[in-house]
Amino acid sequence: MSHMTQIELEIKDLQALKNACAKLGFQFVKGQTTYKWYGRFMGDYPLPEGIRKEDLGKCDHAIVVPGAGYEVGVVKKEDKYILLWDFYKAGGLANALGQNGKLLKIMYSTEKVKLAAKRKHYKIIETRTKTGEVVLTLRK
């Protein structure tokens, strides 16, 4: 091994996000401009950078999770997308998305790497470890 890089994920690719949603059994709804949530900001958690409380409930696209009362808002900010969602338990998203939405982020990263690797004509070998890691090996 000659070098190792750690990445801070940014969601920039709607196709990869759609693929991730499909893999998780979620429905990506293009152009849906509102998402379901509690409806009132209680101020008990920090908002994502660039999001004001007036922005909550508004989005550019949405993700519908079967069985959940609340939805995920996909908000375009400059060249990336921010996911907004209410993790209040009764909304049903916390289990489906995992803490901080990590299950959706893991699937997005997986799909994004696959799309990028295919464009460069890499062969992709996907494995999952017992601890839940996804390992993508790319070879030419």
Partner: protein, 63 residues
């Protein structure tokens, strides 16, 4: 064998490694994935990375 290994851990942290490539070209190999996924938080160069650069410098001097 040259390969890129992308690991996404259970918390969603992404790590990219290159195997079987010596010298600076390994960083070029992963550039496209880094750009598409987000920002580089940390990049660690291993002994193999520096060794091969040193070797190629020696080779140039001999010529």
């Amino acid at each position: 064998m040259e390969e890129i290994v992308v690991t996404i851990d259970e918390e969603g942290e992404v790590t990219i490694k290159v195997n079987g490539v010596k010298g600076h070209s390994c960083t070029k190999m992963t550039e496209f994935i880094e750009k598409e996924l987000g920002k580089v938080k940390e990049r660690k160069k291993t002994k193999e990375y520096f060794q091969s650069v040193h070797q190629s410098e020696q080779a140039k001097q001999r010529v």
